[in-house]
Subunit: 325 residues, 2 copies
DNA sequence: TGTCAGAATTAGAGCGCTCTAACAGGTGGG
DNA sequence: CCCACCTGTTAGAGCGCTCTAATTCTGACA
């Protein structure tokens, strides 16, 4: 049996006879043969693998996206190679080591590098950026529509009768913070309510601190829309400590539907990004550019959904009153 | 300039003259040259990469271990390749694709495969198993010392004055459950207390359900040691719902020090496994077998620590009384 | 029985690197 | 002034596969 035959068998080529195939497989088993992926990747023009840059393994948010990526990759018969740029460490070298393996494309999950630098590094390689909206020729984008997510949150609280709805936002550079403010403000104005934004950061600590600020306000809000779940959970403990009851005294709404929000003990009403779908779409967008030879950049803004749990409730009287409007 | 020269430059060989080196680098930059890792891996005898099987990306527990792995790998100048066997999916094929890349060794994080099957698959390749204690020649093991962790928990509660300490355990097959029961029972007996184990599973739901069972007991425990944090958090909500206050009415202690336990809102006293250290040790063990040509299997049982938060407190009177003993 | 199309198999080049051994160009000692 | 020796560079084989094109094998049909 020739080398080429074995190669064909291991690539499931249809042009090899059934009995030959089984003889090859039997022989391989007997000899303990295992194909060498490095040789295959070198010899074949294509590698059939897409590289995924995963910056933060600790954030379960990305886990769902990777799940989606792998589901779609499986379906499309491409391999996935994950590179974990160590926490805060050199993203450039993480991408570089991915590129040295000659993937057919790249998926970058919430990369933090300057857009220009990324563009220079990946060159013409099809690249999809998930979770960060950059304007740069050549990149395809998959993001959550944070503006509409925030609108969803505000409209729901408004429907419950809330009028004094405060937004606790993330830091200026934090992913989605600006868009969420925009959606919040737009929805508030559309509903004839006055927007009010309290600056913070995307962290539990910041939320905890914000609770005190809120408690000290002349006119306390009846509902708080936190820019992410961490802030919301921080607010929850802050309110708890200050004797402010959620949702009795104040309704609380988060963003991201993290596993934290899902625990019974927290049970936070929140906005859910379609994470798995985002991952799947990333792969599909990548392959579509590759196989259909698309040149133009696309941006997919995915529609988030509202997940109602137990930290929100109608304003006792006003709620009913307003609903009849 | 020859091909070999470029190769030497990119491998940081000391035997290339400084000016030649910079000329090569300049030329590479100008031509947009990037080494092909597949060719390198094929041509050189060694690949300098260890493969890591990560079964569950959603479990932040593994994220810390991977952090440790990458820290140590960085220090030792080896690459890390992560393979994410899709959730519950074919672990065999995930390991297989890792093996096809010809790593110098493997680190398996809490693998679920039968020991024999794993041994057959990896053959003589140095392999470290983290988080699961298997008895099989050829594997090195890094685990938390769950027996001593459980003892730590019991002794602490005992020191606080608790005598009726209940242990809510995980399912029979769940990682560490058996050892934690053993440590719990041993410590209880050593302290002259009567062990009592309530069977459950490693989930929030199971913890929630257990709360009701506990509330219905003739003689309620004054402290509950849950086999992991998820159970503890479930218990927390269960107790909450039943009007049982933690820690006023009952002290609660978890295991694993998950991010959940760390949130202010939960702030759970728990046992911490040295996850980063476990990851680092995995790499060191692997390389030590490789370079020192060690043949015998080793098992590292890492000492966990107690993290005191706000779900445990002394029994008001008895606590002080007992301390003077 | 010969012919031929199509199916199955194989020879041989080449993927981009590393490795060994050989080679060039100084340097310094005899 | 030659030779040994060291440093720096390079020729050429080879890593284990894929790919193309050529070759062999089959069976159908005249």
């Amino acid at each position: 049996m020739s080398r080429a035959l074995v190669s064909l068998v291991f690539r499931n080529s249809p042009k090899v006879a059934d009995d030959t195939r089984s003889r090859v497989i039997a022989a391989a088993e007997r000899l303990g043969y295992r194909p060498n992926a490095n040789a295959r990747r070198l010899a074949s023009r294509t590698t059939d693998t897409v590289g995924v840059l995963l910056r933060d393994l600790h954030n379960p948010f990305f886990a769902d996206i990777v799940d989606g990526i792998e589901t779609a990759a499986d379906r499309k018969n491409v391999q996935v190679l994950i590179s974990h740029g160590r926490r805060g460490a050199d993203e450039v070298s993480a991408v570089e080591s991915l590129l040295e393996l000659r993937p057919i494309g790249l998926v970058l999950l919430s990369p933090s590098l300057p857009t220009r630098a990324m563009a220079a590094q990946v060159g013409t390689l099809p690249t999809v950026i998930v979770g960060r909206e950059v304007r740069q020729r050549g990149f395809d984008i998959v993001v959550d529509d944070d503006v509409r997510g925030a609108e969803l949150a505000v409209r729901y609280l408004h429907k419950l009768g809330h009028r004094r709805i405060l937004h606790v936002t993330g830091g200026p550079g934090e992913a989605g913070a600006a868009q969420r403010i925009r959606g919040y403000e737009r929805a508030m104005r559309a509903l004839g309510a006055t927007p009010r934004v309290l600056p913070a950061r995307f962290s539990e600590e910041a939320g905890f601190a914000a609770a005190e600020v809120i408690a000290g306000m002349d006119e306390m809000p009846t509902a708080v829309f936190a820019a992410n779940d961490l802030i919301a959970v921080g607010l929850l403990s802050g309110f708890d400590q200050l004797g402010i009851r959620v949702p009795d005294d104040v309704s609380l709404l988060g963003y991201d539907n993290t596993s934290l929000a899902r625990t019974r003990h927290i049970d936070l009403t929140t906005i859910d990004q379609p994470r798995r779908a985002m991952g799947e779409l990333a792969i599909e967008t990548l392959l579509e550019r590759l196989y259909r030879d698309r040149q133009r950049s696309t941006i997919h803004r995915m529609m988030p959904t509202l997940v109602i749990r137990s930290t929100t409730r109608p304003i006792p009287a006003a709620g009913a009153e307003e609903r009849t409007r």
